[in-house]
């Protein structure tokens, strides 16, 4: 996945929306910027398949040595797949945040609210202001 093809939430999650057999599916992860800010990851909790997620609401958590951070869903829908091995290889988040570092796939309700999210340029602007 290329960063230009993704949509971004203010809380540093990304989503890639694709068509899978007529339904819209969002693949969700967190950005390289967020991972760099967190550093020293030790643990992650992801939801189970079937969990309903809501845009802006917590779907999991990621923990570093220093602190725990909530993961907020960038879209509305239902979890249809979980990258369940990811908590056992957290280094993947650093090496491939937009590929192997994906967290959940969500069957979107409508467009899942993806149109409300930022594009790369807007997100980069936000990171520059925060960083």
């Amino acid at each position: 996945m290329k960063p230009e093809q993704l949509r971004y939430a203010e809380t540093h999650e990304w989503v890639a929306v694709s068509d899978e057999g007529g339904r819209k599916v969002g693949t969700v992860g967190i950005t390289a910027f967020a991972i760099e800010q967190l550093t020293d990851l030790v643990h992650m909790v992801l939801p189970k398949v079937g969990t309903k997620v809501e845009q802006g609401k917590e779907f999991g958590e990621v923990e570093s040595v220093k602190a725990v951070s909530s993961l907020y869903s960038p879209v509305n829908g239902e979890v249809i797949a979980v990258n369940s091995d990811l908590p056992n290889r957290l280094e993947t988040l650093g090496s491939d945040p937009y590929g192997e570092g994906w967290m959940i796939k969500v069957a979107l309700t409508g467009d899942g609210g993806a149109s409300k999210l930022m594009d790369l340029a807007a997100y980069q602007k936000q990171c520059a202001a925060e960083g």
Binding site: T39, D40, V42, H43, V45, E63, V65, K66, A67, V68
Partner: protein, 371 residues
């Protein structure tokens, strides 16, 4: 908001990629790159810490021994030159105002004086306290030396080897918790065999104007020893593994020294000090919560203020917690009733709505086995 204070090493930190945060009114490095790498460097080689934010107060005059003896929970009377003691400053009610190191030092010319190293967060409070406690008859002058000086900690198995070429005094020959005036890279300074990491090492106090030169020289001297600059993030994980209390977490005005497991830092025998009459009855008070160490079997860390549970009931609270880089599991300190404080007691911690198993373990969590 008032402007944050900067240590003499602030520019170095900023130039070396440190993430700088507000800590007790100072703009301090929390980490340079990775807390875990900085932590491990200190455990296996040497870590160098800018601790210039700590308050340094100098006491001169024939009354300084008596004045400090009256305010500290441990004896200052009878401390020979070169001796350093960990002690507490209590208020009249026996609450802890700060935990401090008191140094008795001898000047190059022979004059004796004391130095008090206090927490950055308590410097103003302690300075006010000292003023309020000083009687007109006390022949003592105290001066805040924090801004004119810089303090650097060098900690880890290679720390003394790195410092030996730079320090005039025989650092390796200093006993633990002693110190002296000496030269450091030809600048007048103080070296002490002290620290806050559970490792061997030393701390130096040098003129602010010489701090950056000396800091750089430490890195030159340590470049073949795996030396690393360490921020406050790893300072916190290191002190937690060593079970050293931190003011504002394990210690406060609502906690007395005995609850905190600091009986060794209180001397009640044949002396008086501020707070003594209030804390003496607490020595063996079976009703008070006490500080314990908890180890968690899962991966989720218990953080400050999380509830400690026994049989589903809230019995206490976490004061500090982290994922231990050395032990590779979550560790925490908490205050719990004595009935739940025995080593081996199975408790749990409410981690954001889930009761995670936790067991009372002996403190410290980590003890170095290399000399």
């Amino acid at each position: 908001m008032t402007a944050l204070l900067q240590t003499p090493l602030h520019a170095w930190h900023a130039a070396h990629g440190a993430r700088l945060v507000d800590f007790a009114g100072w703009h301090m490095p929390v980490q340079y790159k990775s807390i875990v790498e900085e932590h491990n460097a200190t455990r296996t080689a040497a870590g160098v810490f800018d601790v210039s934010h700590m308050g340094r107060i100098r006491f001169d005059g024939p009354g300084s021994t008596g004045f400090l003896d009256r305010l500290l929970t441990r004896k200052v009377v009878g401390m020979g030159p070169g001796k350093i003691r960990y002690s507490l400053v209590c208020n009249e009610a026996g609450g802890i105002l700060d935990d401090v190191l008191v140094y008795h030092l001898q000047e190059h010319g022979g004059g004796l004086y004391h130095l008090l190293v206090v927490n950055a967060s308590n410097r103003d409070k302690i300075l006010s306290w000292l003023k309020s406690q000083k009687k007109p008859t006390d022949e003592v002058n105290f001066t805040d030396r924090t801004i004119e000086t810089s303090m650097i900690a060098i900690q880890g198995p290679s720390a003394l080897r790195i410092m030996e070429p730079l320090v005039g005094a025989d650092v390796g020959g200093l006993a633990y918790y002693t110190g002296c005036e000496t030269t450091i890279c030809r600048h007048a300074g103080i070296v002490s065999r002290t620290g806050y990491t559970g490792e061997d090492g030393c701390e130096i106090i040098v003129p602010a104007s010489a701090a950056e030169e000396i800091w750089e020289r430490i890195f030159s001297s340590g470049k073949d020893h795996g030396v690393a600059a360490v921020g406050l993030g790893a300072r916190d994980t290191l002190r937690m593994e060593a079970a050293m209390p931190l003011y504002g977490h394990e210690l406060s005005e609502q906690i007395n020294p005995f609850q905190a497991g600091l009986a060794f830092a209180v001397n009640l025998d044949g002396r008086d000090f501020v707070g003594k009459s209030a804390i003496a009855p607490k020595k063996d008070d079976p009703s008070q919560r006490v500080r314990v160490g908890l180890a968690l079997s899962g991966k989720r860390a218990a953080r400050e203020h999380y509830a400690v549970l026994s049989g589903g009931n809230r019995i206490g609270e976490i004061t500090s917690g982290t994922f231990s880089p050395t032990l590779q599991q979550p560790i925490a300190m908490a205050y719990v009733p004595p009935a739940s404080a025995k080593v081996g007691t199975e408790l749990s911690v409410d981690i954001r709505g889930t009761a995670e198993p936790a067991k009372v373990v002996p403190l410290p969590f980590y003890k170095r086995n290399h000399l």
